[in-house]
Symmetry: C2
Subunit: 348 residues, 2 copies
DNA sequence: CCTCCTCGTGGAATCGATTACACGAGGAGG
DNA sequence: CCTCCTCGTGTAATCGATTCCACGAGGAGG
């Protein structure tokens, strides 16, 4: 592979001049510039990003460590992150933690070893020592979706509290009183927050959230299945199951179907995170939709602001409820509750 | 960030000795080794991968350029690729082409600039000049899923011919005679092959594949919707629509639902690529499943074999038909056709 | 005509590692 | 006791870029 020396030789100038041409420095004569450009073309020269990074101490690369690539929510997040980063002149290296702290740690380490300019993380757990250390050492960093309390790092996330309230109001309006939740891991903020929001919303309607109605999941489909089976085995099973992410909702659907039961006739289902497939499931699933793309873009902007020394602050965006049919048919357009909240009826 | 020099100073040895300890060279005294390790620990030193790569001319990184991250098939592929690569001591940088040749080119260029050790590509089109040039220049490279004819690069893919034959036999057995296909872009091998296999299988049953029944899609949901609408507008609409990937099947479902029609009563649907959600769609979708995980792992092994000078050959794995309910209820276990083919009835 | 600036250019240091080569100490063998 | 080898270690070159500094040519101004 041709190096800058080859180009210099071919053009009959020094490497310094070649570098200047390549980096658009002003003080290069038109003649020299033309000869260098010609040589670059002739040799098919491309600058070695590795060498450049070593010298300039910047890689123009962002690291993104997400909890689970197979989760469509994170896939979409990753996509919008890459898009915005590209627009800003950065590349992105994605690390998939698969909800495993050890894997998360592995990726954080590898990314740091590669001297990425900044790190975007959706932590799987309370935070690996290496990550906390990096944050303390001043590595530009931003949390997205999930975060770690007590660490001085901006957080870009969506607040589902209002949407959960809307959901519970919707469920209550349909006559449901026994509501259960499949929670995410307590080690994650989203795992805890969604339960808290749910409990609070239930409280507002005078409904309890008994321990038996809080199933411990891990954001993976299998746990959704397992927890739902447990709910169905209860002497008094819940009327509604609210899954704290889309994969656990998938598992819940599996479990219900395996028993030969039907949604929403036998049990209703709602999910956090809206995905395209929810329109076509049997039945279409009522879900809380996050502004995923916006989240990813905002996170990148915050991180790049940090990197380039322009601050970079936390951002919180609202989520919204999308009503479909998995919780029961809405009472046929009764005018009794005009619902001033941002509940949106899906067109499906 | 501490460098090797700091470690050397702290340990009271030269950088050469530090390097030797870090790389497990034999000729280092136990005492020196202990002091170096102590210094590494004390300083929290981590070797700079950028500097190392520059010197050794290897990054231990693989590039993976896929056509569309939002497609669950590719997501799963990416995941298995990363997994196998990690097991072999490599990292993976993913580039998402979004089915756009220009973006594919951008990613290939960036990856090459970063001097990745090898490239795994699922080409979006006939191949960018830069990619072909890289292949010719000897960059270790392997095509996965899709490939470019006439280029001397191993291909790891799955052969759907037999499964398509099984599918057509299944459809024919259900009494369907007017079968249509939503094709992928003609610029991709999978786009062409699936149509060819379909036409061939139809021919074996004496059925035609009229041009009006070949809809031109681009592997994205929108095109599936558009093409399906066209089919439904035909004076004699097809009885079955076979989508050449899962996203176009999603679009087809959208279109059917938008007309207030039902699958399979009004029109049957089948798809290439099986995904978890197909179990829970309304109705569950009959699909052709590729051994995606195996494909990803085999591709990485082939690529690493190339990189490390051990050859690395093409691999073709069979796909198989998974029958669900989207093409009509199978005739209730009639013993007339024991079906010696590897048709699997899904447990759903 | 001399002095001083500006402009274009090249030489060389540098980033953080790896590694060929040289060298000194110490043990083995004659 | 001398020679030779082995072992552990250090010095310095190197990878491919960027960039500081110096230098020479040429123009402007006095």
């Amino acid at each position: 592979m041709a190096s800058i020396k080859d180009v210099a030789a071919e053009a009959g100038v020094s490497v310094a001049t070649v570098s200047r041409v390549l980096n658009g420095h002003p003080s290069v004569s038109a003649a020299a510039r033309a000869r260098v450009l010609g040589a670059v073309e002739a040799l098919g020269y491309r600058p070695n990003a590795v060498a450049r990074s070593l010298r300039t101490d910047q890689t123009r690369t962002l690291g993104l460590v997400i909890s689970d690539v197979l989760n469509p929510y994170f896939t979409e997040l990753a996509r919008s992150v890459e898009e915005e980063a590209r627009a800003l002149g950065y590349s992105v290296i994605i690390g998939n933690a698969d909800e495993r702290p050890d894997l998360q740690d592995h990726h954080v380490t590898t990314l740091l070893d590669r001297r990425i300019d900044g790190l975007l993380v959706s932590p799987t757990d309370g935070g690996s020592p290496r990550m906390l250390e990096a944050a303390r050492a001043g590595t530009p960093m931003v949390f997205v979706d999930r975060w770690i309390p007590g660490v001085d790092v901006p957080v870009v996330r969506s607040d589902g509290r209002a949407a959960v309230r809307d959901l519970v109001a919707h469920l209550h309006g349909l006559g449901h009183r026994r509501l259960a939740i499949i929670a995410g891991p307590a080690a994650t903020t989203t795992g805890r927050e969604r339960v808290d929001a749910f409990r609070e919303a239930l409280g507002a309607h005078g409904l309890p959230l008994p321990d038996a109605y809080i199933g411990q999941g891990d954001f993976q489909a299998d746990s959704g299945r397992r927890v739902t089976e447990g709910f169905l085995d209860l002497p008094e099973p819940p009327e509604v199951v609210f899954a704290a992410d889309n994969l656990m909702a998938l598992g819940a659907l599996d479990a219900v179907r395996a028993r030969g039961l039907r949604v929403p006739r036998d049990i209703a289902l709602a999910a956090f995170d809206d995905i395209r497939w929810f329109v076509h499931t049997d039945p279409p699933v009522t879900a809380i939709a996050q502004p995923t793309g916006e989240l990813g873009r905002a996170a990148v902007r915050a991180l790049v602001d940090r990197i380039e020394g322009r601050g970079g602050a936390s951002v919180t965006l609202p989520a919204r409820l999308v009503v479909r049919r998995s919780c029961g048919e809405p009472p046929a357009s009764s005018p009794q509750s005009p619902s001033p909240s941002p509940v949106r009826r899906s067109t499906t």
